[in-house]
Symmetry: C2
């Protein structure tokens, strides 16, 4: 690992060294290290034209983790990767994915990861995904993650997805289908600056009795960046759905929030909230009377909001 | 006026007799009475192929009202009517529109009213619109009101729109453009039953400093009826926008709420809330312990919700 790779691994996966547990590190389109455990297998896909891995977690696996970070430091590299996660019944695991692009060149670097989850009966999974870009080249850094979630009866998935910095353009599509008693918690944090564009699109189909979904997005748009947040929740049975989008706009940024709730069943209970606005003047003044400059005060408020 | 006309006038305009102030009654596609006042003129449109009236209210007119009810009792009558409202600067008036369809036949009766408002500087207007259908024929009762609102600087418009009963299908489109200091308050109440379909679509462009918009919809969907609520609020300047959609679903009804907030300016402050669900069990039980049947309890809750 060179210094850039190490730095990016730290940013996207909080990794300072080779991780504990199972892992697969992808570096400029190649596998750069893999470890499996007795309970977690990682298998390279063999279908032609389909790059990616299968992560197979045995039923009942508890307190194990999988790290699958991706690093792109070669300007101009574009790749689409398919990763499928099979989480066995009753397992309880943490999966950390993430992609960092370091682009010092002039060509566009792009990583599109299509992640499909099969969460088994009564399994619990925490999925953490971080996207990050850096590099002083003029080349664009594009990340289009697609996440497809299937949760079987009684399963639970928590998805924390963060894109804090340096991604020129992103379109993030997440779809989820929930069976009886399944629960999904999604927390998204996004910050855009400069001329960046970020679009997120969630669709949750609640198909099984007593399933629940909670999709919460917090975002900050700075500079001339633009963001679009779309969130569709379809209640097709007795279920509870909640979606929330709070956005802070700064400078000349622009944010659109477009949720859609559909109740197709009398026992579906659906709620949405959204608020878009700038940082409240009183909050700034309070911090400035404590000795912070306006910029420092703004930064502190933004950091608190995205924490 | 015959008994049917009288009854429908009562339903759509709370009129028991010929109204005070200015009025224009449209009955089966024909003018059936008109009164103007010193300050309010009503003029039949003369453009070819364009049926309708211009309502011209002099600047400074205070505490006057205009009633323009429409009654259709002839099965199979379909009409599109253009009514334009010119509300002079500093006026303060109430306008009551409404359409009732009594269809005892087998053909579709349809009234599509396109109402355009030019609200003058610092003028205030309360606009009440009621839609109602009845008749034991199998013919459909269709109402597609279009409302186009332009509010000049400092103007204020309150729009109360109600569709309680008997309308087979409706698509209600409202657009509004607000100048500096203008304020718009929209309250919509809708109830659908049987196989009815209701769609409402609001678009508000907030273009002038310190303008504000508040769009609140409450609806009840019974039987196998379907409703779609769309509300777009675009904050293009320093402004405050709020939109809210609360829906009660009953039986096998289906409701979709799809708001869209866009902040194109850092000083735009936008909020949305939506909730869809059935009547809470505890509420029903409380009323039933007071001696009401389940149906009576439901009816009481629905009436309170739509009041």
């Amino acid at each position: 690992m060179d210094a850039i790779e190490k730095h990016i691994l730290e940013e996207v996966a909080d990794l300072h060294a080779v991780p504990e547990g199972a892992y697969n590190i992808r570096y400029n389109g190649q596998s750069d290290g893999r470890k499996t455990t007795a309970n977690i297998d990682i298998v390279t896909k063999t279908e032609e034209g389909k790059s990616g891995i299968d992560i197979i977690i045995k039923p009942g696996t508890k307190n194990e983790s999988v790290h699958i970070p991706v690093v792109l430091s070669q300007s101009g590299l574009k790749e689409t990767v398919y990763n499928d996660f099979y989480i066995g019944d009753d397992a309880d695991v943490t999966i950390v994915a993430g992609c960092g692009i370091h682009n010092c060149g002039t060509d566009t670097s792009q990583h599109d990861g299509i992640h499909t989850f099969y969460v088994g009966k009564n399994a619990r999974i925490k999925y953490v995904e971080k996207h990050y870009g850096e590099g002083d080249g003029s080349g664009e850094r594009i990340l289009n993650p697609v996440t497809v979630i299937n949760i079987d009866e009684g399963g639970y998935m928590e998805m924390d997805t963060v894109q804090i910095k340096g991604v020129t353009s992103t379109k993030r599509v997440t779809t989820a289908v929930l069976k009886a008693g399944a629960a999904l918690e999604i927390s998204e944090k996004i910050m855009t600056h400069g001329n960046q564009y970020a679009e997120t699109d969630f669709t949750v189909d609640m198909n099984g009795e007593d399933c629940s979904a909670n999709v919460v997005s917090r975002s900050v748009a700075k500079g001339k960046s633009k963001q679009l947040f779309v969130s569709r929740i379809n209640g097709n049975c007795k279920c509870a759905g909640h979606t929330e989008c709070d956005a802070i706009i700064m400078d000349q940024a622009c944010v659109t929030a477009e949720p859609q709730l559909t109740a197709n069943d009398i026992d579906a209970s659906l709620i949405h909230e959204a608020a878009i606005g700038k940082i409240a003047g009183e909050q700034l003044i309070k911090l400035m009377t404590l000795g912070l400059t306006e910029e420092e005060a703004e930064e502190q408020i933004v950091n608190g909001f995205l924490k």
